[in-house]
């Protein structure tokens, strides 16, 4: 079985569990909506400036909601010692981590889509015209944070205070991805051309490739005690 098909099997299993329980989606989704609504009181949301700051607000929300999704990722393997069963199976560590990242990616994209709708309504920002570019930026950045979420979800799964350890460790690492995502989102929302600021795209691509490569290399080291 190739790495990709193994990873896909893991992702499919995780998404099947998630569709049944909706734990992560409910928690992350409602958190994102609540924060966006609260911030709409804090800022004067019916102004053009929101397009300049929208990227920062959205990606903060996605980062915090993402932590809720990532925490569940490997935690759902703990009951009944399922993680041991997976490690004893022919699945490679890399397939397990990348599969979890696929699942994180899918769930986070759903949360982002819902958040965009809420953002458009409460902040009166019309983003539909830029949906394609937004989709591309979101996909690149979301993969970066998802792979980090999967790797460090695996790393922190057996630690004391796991729910606290994961954010402490992962947020500083997300900084380059978040900065690039925020800049690019602002560029798209203010209808400027991305080709003016291609270095942020390069940052996202470099981060995605680098973190995925490191995840592939270090998965077994992290998972097997």
């Amino acid at each position: 079985m190739s790495l990709f098909s193994q990873a896909f099997a893991v992702a499919r299993k995780d998404l099947a569990v998630e569709l049944r329980t909706k734990e992560s989606l409910n928690a992350a989704g409602s958190f994102a909506i609540v924060i966006l609504v609260i911030f709409s009181f804090a800022f004067d949301s019916f102004s053009d400036e929101m397009k300049e700051y929208g990227g920062g607000l959205l990606w903060l929300v996605f980062a915090f909601a993402g932590a809720l999704v990532f925490n569940r990722g490997f935690a759902r393997e703990l009951p009944n010692e399922c993680l041991d069963t997976l490690l004893a199976s022919p699945l490679s560590g890399a397939a397990l981590v990348i599969g979890k990242a696929f699942a994180n990616f899918t769930m986070l994209l759903v949360v982002e889509l819902v958040s965009l709708v809420v953002f458009g309504i409460f902040y009166n920002v019309d983003w539909l015209g830029q949906a394609g570019w937004l989709g591309a930026v979101f996909a690149l950045a979301t993969w970066g944070v998802s792979i980090l979420g999967a790797v460090f979800g695996a790393l922190t799964v057996n630690l004391r205070l796991r729910e606290l350890m994961l954010p402490v460790v992962i947020y500083p690492l997300m900084i380059p991805i978040l900065i690039a995502a925020i800049e690019l989102t602002n560029i798209v929302l203010t209808r400027r051309s991305i080709s003016e600021d291609m270095q942020w795209v390069k940052v996202l691509v470099a981060s995605d490739i680098g973190f995925t490569g490191l995840a592939w290399l270090l998965a077994d080291t992290i998972l097997v005690s």
Partner: protein, 238 residues
Amino acid sequence: MTQAIELNQVWKFYGDYAALRDCTLSVHEGSSCALLGRNGAGKTTLLRILGGLTHFQRGVVTLFGEKPRAENARRHSGFLGHGIGVYEDLSARENLHFFASITGNSSNVKALTDTWLERVGLSRVATMPVRQYSRGMRQRLALARTFIHSPRILLLDEPFTSLDDRAIAMLSELLTEARQRGATIVLSTHQLREALAIASHVALVENGRLRYTGERTQEMLDDPTLLYRLHTQLGVPE
């Protein structure tokens, strides 16, 4: 005779503390080895090393010539630990389908799943989430999950503990079948009588060392505590 499992001068450390010391053991293909010893002796650690779940720092371990973490080694082994290793939110069918597909049988996953659901008596509840199963049903599902890919090596950590009668009978049947098809079995247990009844070989672990390895003899069957009295300093575990 092919050696299915070889451990040669294996040490496992937690920091500077040696949990396994200089362990050497050969298990030839088709035999069944009972790992005996008190709690904390190192039986589970040894089994986890064989299952590729934990690393060791010194020595050599091979399963049919491959390292424990090699994909081939794990494809040919089945591991049953303390946990049942199934997902509560999925049904029996979904669980078996997933485990069958990741153990490499992508061509006949559906057929295999159906066969094993029937075998362990879970066909009629196959679509219910495992969360709603009784304890006995979960145990039988765990057995199906372990044996579904007809592994050549079975690694079982105290498999008889907390099984109900039906599950014990099923496990014994599965183990007999496995032995008949030439599988190699390593199981750790406290239950001396059951273990010695099915084992062809024994290995006694105390404080991380293998105190005795060899064939199971009639004397051991007659007096299960003999091994402990002869070879350990700590005596018979209660």
